[in-house]
Amino acid sequence: MTENARRGFLAAGATFAGAIAVAPGLHLIAPALARGAGEPASNANRWGLLIDTNKCSASCDACVKACATENGITEQVADPRQRSQWIRKIDIKEKNGRQHSLPMMCQHCSDPPCVDVCPTGASMKRADGIVLVDRHVCIGCRYCMMACPYKARSFVHEPLTEQNPQVPRGIGCVEACTLCVHRVDKGQLPACVEACTEGAMLFGNLADPNSEISRRIAHEATTQVRADLKLNTGVRYQGI
């Protein structure tokens, strides 16, 4: 059996196991299965998001609030320009007058500029495509912030004390959306996706052609932000 065929078999097996493990009607998707203890993230997965901006209202910021709660982004730096924002709502007004709104966060690029420029290798991409900052080796040079075309990264400007035990973050390091890696590893959805009552955000495995996200991307018109840069983002949008 070739490596690919074996992987496909395993993925199919996992999907089947997921399908029978989850009660019908429960809003949980099969690929987001918890990994066993001691098992590393695998490139059989590439986690991504599909965001339907047609369902996203300008007045709603449920995803932003959920992210702040989940990741313990509670600090109130006096200068708002120095506050961390892992996810933000952007209101867009196109030349023809069309207005819409969408959540913007780390796009979890397949070829991330932040990883290219990081001098110490703190900026890194996990096997399953999640782009993270290893704060153990981040020296706080902010070169990644200069390089990111999405302004997805923030620098922690003050000492912190209110961290979520599952989400370490602290002074002098750069940080960004982790795609809620601590939840994904447990088989849960990212907090923003869970909080979106409009169903505008779909989380799934881009590496599995049978996942819902892959099927929708294959059949519907979707966009990557700054597609011209050819970064192959893990976050895709509809309706922009």
Binding site: K65, N71, I73, Q85, H136, Q163
Partner: protein, 127 residues
């Protein structure tokens, strides 16, 4: 005569200083483990000597490779070793991590980012 007097005076002055120096010696850390688990992940002697390597090894595995649920875990340390009074492993020299690190004069780098309190729930106020 004057010389003897001054020598005596010097000794008299120096004695309390010596004593103070002796008294000022840092006492051994005395952090009591208030909510002990049944068994630590390794024998105390090995933990004392190698905990930093164990944690460092695990941090790289967890963060970079996504390996979770193994025996070594910083949150696991806190769960057993946090003080009952403050709920934390740092904050003062009676607390587990800080007490020993103050004694050994080794800077603690973990808690700039990691939450030192056991079972801490982030408040979740929106920024």
């Amino acid at each position: 005569m004057l010389r003897i007097l001054s020598t005596l005076a010097t000794i008299a002055l120096a004695l309390p200083l010596l004593q103070a120096a002796h008294a000022g010696e840092v006492p051994k850390p005395s952090a009591a483990i208030e909510s002990p688990g049944t068994q630590c992940v390794a024998p105390p002697a090995e933990i004392r000597r190698n905990h930093m390597e164990m944690l460092k090894h695990q941090r790289d595995l967890t963060l970079r490779e996504g390996i979770r649920g193994t025996k070594v875990s910083l949150n696991g340390c806190i769960a057993c070793h946090a003080s009952k009074k403050t709920g934390s492993v740092i904050g003062n020299n009676d607390n587990f991590c800080q007490g020993c690190h103050a004694y050994a004069a080794v800077k603690l780098d973990c808690w700039d980012c990691h939450q030192p309190k056991a079972g801490y729930q982030a408040t979740g106020a929106t920024p």
